[in-house]
Amino acid sequence: MPGDWTDYIGQIIFILFFLMLFTGMNQKIQVKLWAYDIRNKLSIIKRYADDSRSRIEEILNKLGVREPSGIVNKFMNFFMIEPVDIEPTDIIRRLDHLIRSRERIFKDSLARTLPELGKYERSLLESSLEIASVLNYVYKSIRHYLLLGEKYNNWVLLMQLQFMMPETMKLVETYYKSLDSFIKGTPIGDSVGPLVAYKIMEKGKILSKNVIEDTVVAEVWLDNRRVYVIKAEGPGSNVGKPGKVLADLVEKLSGNVDLVVTIDAALKLEGEELGEIAEGVGAAIGDPGPEKIAIERATSRHNIQLSAIVIKMGLPEALHAMKKELYEAVERTVDYLLNLIKNATKEGSTIIIAGIGNSIGVAQ
C-alpha cells in the first residue's frame, strides 16, 4: 500500500538523525552520558573519602577526643605552597624548611589535642589522616572539573575527565585500601628498604645504636667490616631523615667511607615482574629533593662509591600490606647486598647501608 504511515515515520526518523548530526545534538547526548558516568564514579570516590574520614574519627573517638571532626578538618585542608623555582638559589634549603615546618605543625597539633598519645599511635594516625586528605583532594578536584565542564558546556574538558576516570578510580581504590595497613600498622611494600636494613643489622654484631631525627643509625660488625646501617625508626609509620643522617655520618667519619648503598622500592614499569631486583648507581630515594641531594653531595664531596639497589613493585603493592613475593625479594636483596659488599670492598673497610622507605611495622 503506497503512503503507509510507517513509511513516513521511517523517513522522519532518518531526517531527525541527519539534523542531529549537523546541529551537534549527538554530541550533546554524548556529553550528557559522559557527565552521568563521571557523576556515578564521583559518588564512589565520595564514599571512599567519607568512609576513610569516619574511620579516623572513630579512632580519635576511642582515644578520647570529643570533637574529632575539628582535627580531621584541619588536616584534610592543610596545604603546602611550593617554593619559588625560577630562582633556584638555596631552593633545597627552602623546600626542606617547608617540609620540616609542615611535619612540626602536624606533630604539635596532634600532641596538643592528644598529649598522652604515644609516638607509635600518633605516626599511624598522621599517615591515615594524610591518606584521607588525598582522597578528599581527589574528590574535590574531580567535582571541580565536572562542574566547570557543565557550567561552561566545555565538552572537551568532560571528555578528558571521562577518559581519565578509570585511572583515577584505580588510584583512589589503591589509597583507600592502603588505609587498612596504616590503621593496623602492618609493613607495606614500601617497607622493603627498612626491612633489608633490619635484616643486615641482625646478620652482624651490633656495636652501637642511636636514634637521630626519627632515624636509626646502627654500627654493625659484619664480615670483618664496619657497617653503618640507617633506617627510619620503627615500628611507627615514619620515613625518617635518612639523607641528612647519612650526610652527617659521612662528615663525622671525615669521609672515610668506602661504599654507600641505598636500598629502596621502585615503581615497576607495566609488564615488569613484581619483586625484581636491580642494581645501579645513585641515591635510591624518592623524597621531594632535600634528602636525595644530601646523599649525593656527601658522597661526591668525598668521592665515595654510591650504589643503589631497588626492588620493583607497582603503586598498589607499595602502599598495601607487604605481599609474600616482596618479602622473598627482601631475602634475595639481603644476599645480593652481602655479595656486593664482599666483592666491592676489602676487609676492614667502612660501609654505609641505608634502607629507604616507610618503617611501618619494622622495628630495629
Partner: protein
C-alpha cells in the same frame, strides 16, 4: 524503506547486536585477572634453633617483636616477617 517496515528483521538485528555486545563484555571480564582475597600472616623464628612458624597476624605485631616460645627448645621466638598471602578458594 523496507528495513524499517519489517519488524521481524529489525528485531533480529537488535537481538543480534545485543548478543554480540554481551558476549564481548563477558569475554573481557573473563580475561581480566581477578585478585584473590589475601590474609596477613606473621612469620616467627626461634632465636636459638632457627625453628620457623607461620601464624595468623594479630594486631600489635611488628617485625623484631619477641612473641611466644619455640615448640622445640622453649627459647623465645622473634617476628621475622609480616606479609599477605592469597587465600585459596574452593572452586
Amino acid at each position: 524503506m523496507t528495513f524499517f517496515n519489517d519488524p521481524t528483521l529489525l528485531l533480529i538485528v537488535i537481538i543480534l547486536g545485543v548478543t554480540v555486545i554481551l558476549l564481548q563484555l563477558y569475554i573481557e571480564s573473563r580475561r581480566k585477572p581477578r585478585e584473590l582475597p589475601r590474609i596477613t600472616r606473621t612469620l616467627l623464628k626461634c632465636t636459638k634453633c632457627g625453628n620457623v612458624l607461620e601464624i595468623d597476624y594479630e594486631e600489635g605485631d611488628f617485625i623484631s617483636l619477641v612473641k611466644g616460645k619455640c615448640s622445640k627448645c622453649g627459647a623465645p621466638m622473634k617476628i621475622q616477617a609480616i606479609y599477605t598471602i592469597e587465600v585459596k578458594q574452593p572452586k
